[in-house]
Symmetry: C2
Subunit: 257 residues, 2 copies
């Protein structure tokens, strides 16, 4: 399987702490050795880093940790391959453009029969994972439904919810996705989240000796939500998502839907 | 303006030497300070690095130099902004997927009126450059003409040649593009290339003190072509492309067309 990590914030935020916790599971504290990737939204663009090497052995991952890149939205993934070999083209997150926005997608799980049953349109997978296939299928269905971004975000959310229900019958479908404005999370089996806001406290990573006092790095109006397969810290309260639940964040805040 | 660099090779090749020469012009030996990017084709995938910072000041560029990443095809770009602000979304190379292949594109020049006159279809620019606009237009016209990759590569090349003629009336259109198999180069004003093959010799960068003896790093069957806006080395013979010329390489070898 794999692990997911995402962030939605109302101010450009350095994700070094959470990324460090996640990447340690890429061959250090856990077995997700088959590559990793991260996509930072910056302005309208996406700055991505990916490597088919284990996260804990990756020079690129070390650079990302100390890069100081700040973002309001990111998706990251560490991989343990099941469907599709270990290669650049099979590293998540996958990226496509729709409506002049970059969409990104990372998946944890297996969808048996999805390749055969979910028929593709204009978006085609480059690699051989079930994950990229389902992402292309989702985007095609969205593109067919809406030639441009719908004025009402909820109209889009309802379609994504419907499509998610259609795809999840094929198996385990924990995913993070972004349309460049919202962060979408769907839980089949395992996904947790927490929102940090004032008063900020200290947090301690679960996977290695590292703590941070967020009150030193934030202002009172900051809102930062982290989503992860398993809680990344040991002294904070993480919410466990329910199976079948879809959640949406914008600027760090949960959207009612 | 900007500068371009590309490589096509018949064996995965480390481009540290050429990339080092190019990136020095990103604020060191020259003025192209407004960001840079590089896309390495690895297998069917693309590993990309981009940064809106000047190349000579970029930690990410330093990492790319010493990364040892080997590729048979790459496109790189250092930017001096004219149309479109300095931002991640305006850094080249741009990437899109068509036919299950990643296409990449980098441009040097200005195309005045292209945004108004070249109408877009399914591919939309995310940033505000004329370059990304033209790339999206090219891909849309190719996608409309061929639902899947044509069996004859020359059929595709002829269309790309026609479209290039159509777009270049708007101004200076030096570009590098790849469909993941071929490297396309079009020269309006300035583009040079050379092919290195046995017997390999030594090369010396023009922009900083660095030499390499390729005979120590190659085998007799290696063929490596480098394309660059201006020659990167001072002791080798670079071919200057003619204005209006399009050239295509595959596995390091020029394709007759």
């Amino acid at each position: 399987m794999c692990e997911l990590m995402g962030m939605s914030a109302n101010v450009p935020t350095d994700a070094e702490f959470s990324f460090t916790g996640l990447i340690e599971r890429g061959g250090g504290s856990d077995i997700h050795r088959d590559g990793w990737g991260i996509a930072f939204y910056r302005g309208r663009g996406v700055q991505e880093f990916r490597d088919p090497q284990p996260g804990v052995e990756s020079d690129i991952a070390r650079l990302v940790k100390r890069s100081g890149i700040k973002s309001t939205l990111l998706i990251s993934h560490i991989r343990r391959a099941n469907i599709g070999g270990v290669s650049v083209e099979n590293t998540h997150p996958f990226v496509r453009e729709l409506w002049g926005n970059y969409w990104t997608f990372a998946h944890n799980g297996q969808l048996r029969g999805a390749k055969k049953n979910l028929h593709l349109g204009r978006f085609k997978p480059v690699g051989s994972t079930d994950s990229e296939h389902v992402f292309c299928w989702l985007l095609d269905r969205i593109a067919v439904a809406f030639a441009t971004r719908p004025k009402s975000a909820k109209t889009l959310w309802r379609l994504i919810d419907e499509l998610t229900r259609e795809a999840r019958v094929f198996g385990v479908f924990n995913f993070l996705m972004s349309d460049s404005q919202h962060l979408y999370a769907h839980c089949s089996t395992r996904l947790h989240w927490l929102t940090r806001q004032a008063p900020f406290g200290s947090a301690r990573l679960k996977d290695l000796e590292m703590s941070v006092d967020f009150s030193q790095h934030t202002s009172d109006s900051d809102v930062v939500t982290i989503i992860a397969t398993d809680p990344l810290t040991s002294n904070e309260h993480w919410h466990r998502m329910e199976s079948g639940q879809i959640a949406i964040w914008k600027n760090g805040r949960r959207q009612s839907f």
